[in-house]
């Protein structure tokens, strides 16, 4: 365990920010304020944060349709994200990307991705660039259990092994791809073992346990930085909301989410652990909660007030060479 108290507070801040961000979007979406398709990350915070606490701006992550958490964990500007999700001109992508395409290349955030299985090959490419340009960076591909059935994911794993690239495949197994359960859709019983069969170490961890995620991630990142090649981590986790906002979740038993929220909430677990071990005080954590609440409030307020992109934006930035 190498986390300082500051680190722990930072980890908590990121997780709490994700939770508050998503809870608030859930409300705003229900109120009809947010356009488009939105997939919330609430419940999975420890996965993104436990991994990204091991990374810096030099490292690159590829994300999914459920990307807000990865963005926040990797340090994207929360206000810029909120503005983006509202489709505003000063959003992180000028309003052109929206929830499914938030990216911030300066932060090493290579984009949420609307295509299931879209990012693993891209992450391999980022790792290739890191190797060739000797940046010392690593790449992390976040994917879901559903995405783990997509051919692109396997191809990416194999190519990473062949070229021995510094890339980590994180499979966030939240039990469902849309409404289809993982036990139905994944032919084998163990996604991590399947990844391992591609020739790299594969482990699984309880994705609601920040410390377990952090440790497994640390090992994988160290391995990658040391030039020992790729590895995979299956993080078993749950999502607290539906697949997308508006999903009635008929594929879930009535009490499933309740139970999971009770027993499997990474924030609760983190809080209990750090306070019981006297690593952090409840007051400190409460203060973070308040700061985060204000941040999100402000972000939503300014997002609502901000202007939409003007017509001149429509044909801009398709190409670098003729802007």
């Amino acid at each position: 365990m190498q986390l300082s108290r500051d680190d722990l507070l930072e980890a908590y801040r990121r997780m709490r920010t994700i939770r508050a961000f998503e809870d608030r979007i859930h409300e705003e979406f229900a109120a009809g304020e947010i356009p488009g398709f939105v997939h919330l990350y609430a419940g999975q915070e420890a996965c993104a944060v436990g991994m990204c606490m091991n990374l810096d701006d030099n490292d690159v992550i590829g994300s999914t349709h459920r990307g807000h958490g990865h963005c926040i964990a990797k340090g994207c500007d929360v206000t810029g994200m909120m503005h983006e999700i509202f489709g505003k001109a000063d959003g992180l992508c000028g309003g052109k990307g929206g929830s499914m395409h938030i990216a911030d290349l300066d932060k090493g955030m290579l984009g949420a991705n609307g295509i299931v299985g879209g990012n693993p090959p891209l992450a391999v490419g980022a790792a290739l660039a890191a190797r060739n340009l000797k940046t010392g960076g690593v790449a992390v591909s976040f994917a879901g259990d559903g995405s783990s059935n997509q051919g692109t994911t396997f191809e990416a794993m194999n190519l990473a092994v062949v070229l021995k690239l510094p890339v980590i495949f994180v499979i966030e197994n939240n039990g469902y791809g849309e409404g289809t359960g993982v036990d139905y859709a994944v032919g084998c019983k163990d996604i991590a073992a399947r990844a391992a069969a591609f020739g790299m170490p594969g482990t699984h961890v309880d994705g609601s346990d920040f410390f377990a995620v952090y440790e497994a991630s640390r090992e994988a990142v160290e391995r990658a930085r040391a030039g020992e090649g790729p590895s995979a981590i299956e993080m078993r986790i749950t999502r607290f909301y539906g697949h997308f906002e508006g999903d009635p979740q008929l594929y879930r038993a009535d009490d499933e989410v309740e139970t999971l929220k009770r027993d499997f909430d990474c924030l609760k677990k983190f809080r209990a652990r750090v306070t019981e071990a006297s690593l952090l005080e409840a007051d400190q954590l409460n203060a973070v909660d308040d700061q985060v609440a204000r941040l999100i409030d402000d972000a939503v307020r300014t997002a609502k007030a901000a202007p939409y992109p003007g017509p001149d934006a429509l044909e801009r930035d398709v190409y670098v060479s003729y802007p």
Partner: protein, 337 residues
């Protein structure tokens, strides 16, 4: 006749054909949507509810939820089709063709020709097209021009509930691979739809408005905008004829040519970027076959050459609008050689 939505019409077509022919199966991601979960098995019935109820009546051997694995879905459907099944495979959003296109255009589409006329591949791929849901660059494309480019595929773009039912039944009974493109914004639109099964032949355009001044050829949702413009301009004395080809492949070239030979003016409305698309395709046809009748340049109202933007403010500018169509019609009307 009862008013039914486009969604209901498509659902009815599936129920009809699955009852009629045991070989018809439905497969795709979340076509039922609860397999392996802790709740209901027919939880989604397709992400927009179009296949709801099928698994209850026909069971999981004929209504097959799959993993997220489009290449395997399309390939398995194509392979099964060569062996006597009549699969209706769902490609949830047409935008996902990029992860499975090989199985469609190099395999299913080419079997019959490559194998010297021996294969029969009665495959239907249902897919959602179009913008307007603020679904951004990877969930809002139309892309039917890509399928239209490929010999061996048939491509259907129904603009209303009545056509959707008849064309889907035709597609399922058809012995060739058919791409059936459903526009997301049309699911809740209504039309009179008979309860019984009926087919609409491919390659027969529908004239949704008749007129002698200008021909508009429009596809899918764009037909509605074209009709609106026609109605509006009729008040100004401009008689617009609206042609809805209903299938882009085969294309009812005769109807288009006939109309332009009468009107002498053509506007094409295509919700797609302008390059190598249906806009050019129709223009090329007319500039070759009805050149002598043309009184004005051929105008096209398309999306710009950009990905689909997310922001509502931009997406509204991106998709062809009634205003732009009207302007194009007026432009060809006002053209002086």
């Amino acid at each position: 006749m009862a008013k039914k939505t486009y969604r209901q019409a498509i659902s009815e077509a599936l129920f009809h054909e699955m009852r009629r022919d045991e070989r018809v199966i439905v497969m795709g991601e979340d076509v039922a949507g609860g397999q392996g979960g802790t709740g209901q098995i027919d939880a989604y019935g397709g992400v927009l509810g179009v296949t709801k109820g099928l698994i209850g009546e026909f069971g999981p051997e004929r209504v097959i939820d799959t993993p997220i694995t489009e290449s395997a879905i399309m390939g398995a459907a194509a392979g099964a089709a060569t062996q006597g099944l009549r699969p209706v495979a769902e490609l949830m959003f047409v935008d996902f063709l990029g992860v499975c296109f090989d199985q469609i255009y190099n395999q299913a589409a080419k079997f019959r020709y490559m194998f010297g006329g021996k294969a029969v591949t009665p495959l239907v791929i249902r897919t959602m097209i179009g913008g307007g849901l603020r679904a951004a660059a990877q969930h809002s494309q139309t892309l039917y021009s890509i399928f239209t480019h490929i010999p061996g595929l048939k491509v259907v773009v129904p603009s209303n509930a009545y056509d959707a039912k008849g064309l889907l039944i035709q597609a399922i009974r058809d012995d060739d691979p058919v791409i059936f493109c459903e526009h997301k914004l049309l699911y809740d639109t209504e039309a009179d739809v008979p309860d019984e099964a009926y087919t609409i032949p491919f390659g027969e355009a529908e004239f949704t408005r008749e007129g002698d001044d200008v021909t508009i050829v429009a596809f899918s949702r764009m037909v509605h905008l074209a009709n609106q413009v026609a109605d509006k301009l009729a008040k100004d004395g401009i008689e617009v004829e609206v042609v809805d080809p209903r299938t882009t492949s085969p294309l009812d070239e005769d109807s288009i040519i006939e109309s332009v030979e009468n009107t002498g003016r053509l506007v094409i409305v295509d919700e797609a970027p302008p390059r190598c698309s249906m806009a050019g395709d129709i223009a090329g046809l007319v500039a070759r076959e009805a050149f002598g009748a043309l009184k004005a340049p051929i105008e096209a109202v398309t999306c710009p050459h950009t990905p689909v933007p997310f922001s509502p403010a931009l997406e509204d500018l991106y998709i062809p609008s009634a205003e732009k169509i009207e302007a194009a019609v007026r432009k060809v009307m006002e053209y002086k050689p």
